[in-house]
């Protein structure tokens, strides 16, 4: 299947066009900055910084984060097609894909258990309430740390090393 992918007209075009590959690579870099950057800021807030910023307001960052993820799914698929056989066999690439899947699961968990309840509680809070609108569960900080370790460490390091471990490189 990977041989077939790599022999398609699409793959040939990406490899021959002088601008296709650099363009998709640049889009992938911009998308990475948004996905990993916003994940890091959400995680940082869950861990407790900046403490007075309402946690539920951070939920508003998710549509932008997901849009950037879509950009990277498309640009990543195009980059993959251009060199499918070598990439599929690349251990660093395999670790990156597993990390992305795990990272998406953690983000989903963070929204479900932390951001969505926080946003709902803040919307229901009355002016003058002294108690915090929402107290994150004890596991919330662990989810924040996991999100940072998976996206900022595992995805970036394995993604960068793909270029150096590719058998064809």
């Amino acid at each position: 299947m990977f041989e077939w992918l790599q022999s398609t007209g699409l793959a040939t075009w990406i490899n021959i066009s002088p601008w296709a590959y650099p363009t998709f690579l640049t889009a992938h870099g911009l998308g990475m900055a948004v996905v990993v950057g916003l994940t890091a800021m959400i995680a940082l807030r869950i861990i407790g910084f900046p403490a007075k910023a309402p946690l539920g307001a951070y939920r508003g960052l998710l549509p932008l984060l997901l849009a950037a993820f879509a950009v990277n799914a498309v640009s990543g698929a195009l980059l993959f097609v251009s060199d499918a056989v070598a990439l599929a066999a690349n251990v660093s690439f395999q670790i990156k894909m597993a990390s992305v899947a795990l990272g998406l699961a953690v983000l989903w968990l963070i929204d479900r258990k932390v951001l969505a309840p926080a946003a709902a509680a803040e919307a229901a809070a009355k002016v003058g309430d002294t108690a915090p609108a929402f107290t994150p569960p004890g596991s919330a900080k662990a989810m924040g740390v996991a999100a940072i370790l998976i996206w900022w460490l595992s995805v970036i390091v394995s993604g960068r090393l793909v270029a150096y471990l590719s058998p064809g490189a």
Partner: protein, 164 residues
């Protein structure tokens, strides 16, 4: 594009430095610096996105004074990227000093720096000193939008250095 004549003595000095010897002889050091450069740029962009999108008028429930506390993260990440970026230059100064994408990237970093000072002194400090009228004004919106444009340009320029 040839190397700018004004940078020739600097390039020569770098070529004879110990750091050049180290970077040129150690592919692992270059890869490690590159990985750190990526980790730095994501933190820089994450902090700037939250601050600048708020400055542009999105996410109004977040106070500008509160999200401004993320600035040290942006500065710390920038310092990591300045150091790792200098390591790239030391590995092969002639490849960078004659590269148009690198040149554009450097100009945009300077513009982003000037813009950050405008934001700090024309927006944040007056706001912090008790002038709430600043928030929502034209200066904060333009400065915030320019910040994101300049830094996106820096990222694009950097990514295209190998192809320029």
């Amino acid at each position: 594009m040839d190397i700018l004549p004004i940078l020739a003595p600097l390039a020569m000095w770098i070529r004879h430095s110990g750091l050049h010897e180290f970077m040129a002889a150690s592919p692992a050091a270059f890869t490690a610096a590159e990985t750190l450069h990526f980790m730095g740029l994501t933190v820089l962009f994450g902090a700037l996105l939250v601050i600048d999108l708020r400055g542009m008028g999105f996410y109004k429930r977040l106070s500008l004074v509160e999200v401004h506390k993320l600035v040290p993260f942006a500065i710390g990440a920038f310092i990591v990227n300045l150091i790792t970026g200098i390591m790239f230059i030391f590995s092969n100064p002639y490849a960078y000093f004659g590269n148009i994408a690198f040149g554009i990237k450097c100009v945009l970093i300077v513009l982003a720096g000037i813009n950050a000072l405008v934001f700090e002194f024309a927006v944040f400090r007056p706001l912090h000193a008790g002038k709430p009228g600043i928030d929502g004004g034209a200066v904060v919106k333009i400065s915030s939008a320019l910040s994101l444009l300049f830094w996106a340009g820096v990222l694009i320029g950097g990514r295209l250095i190998p192809y320029a």
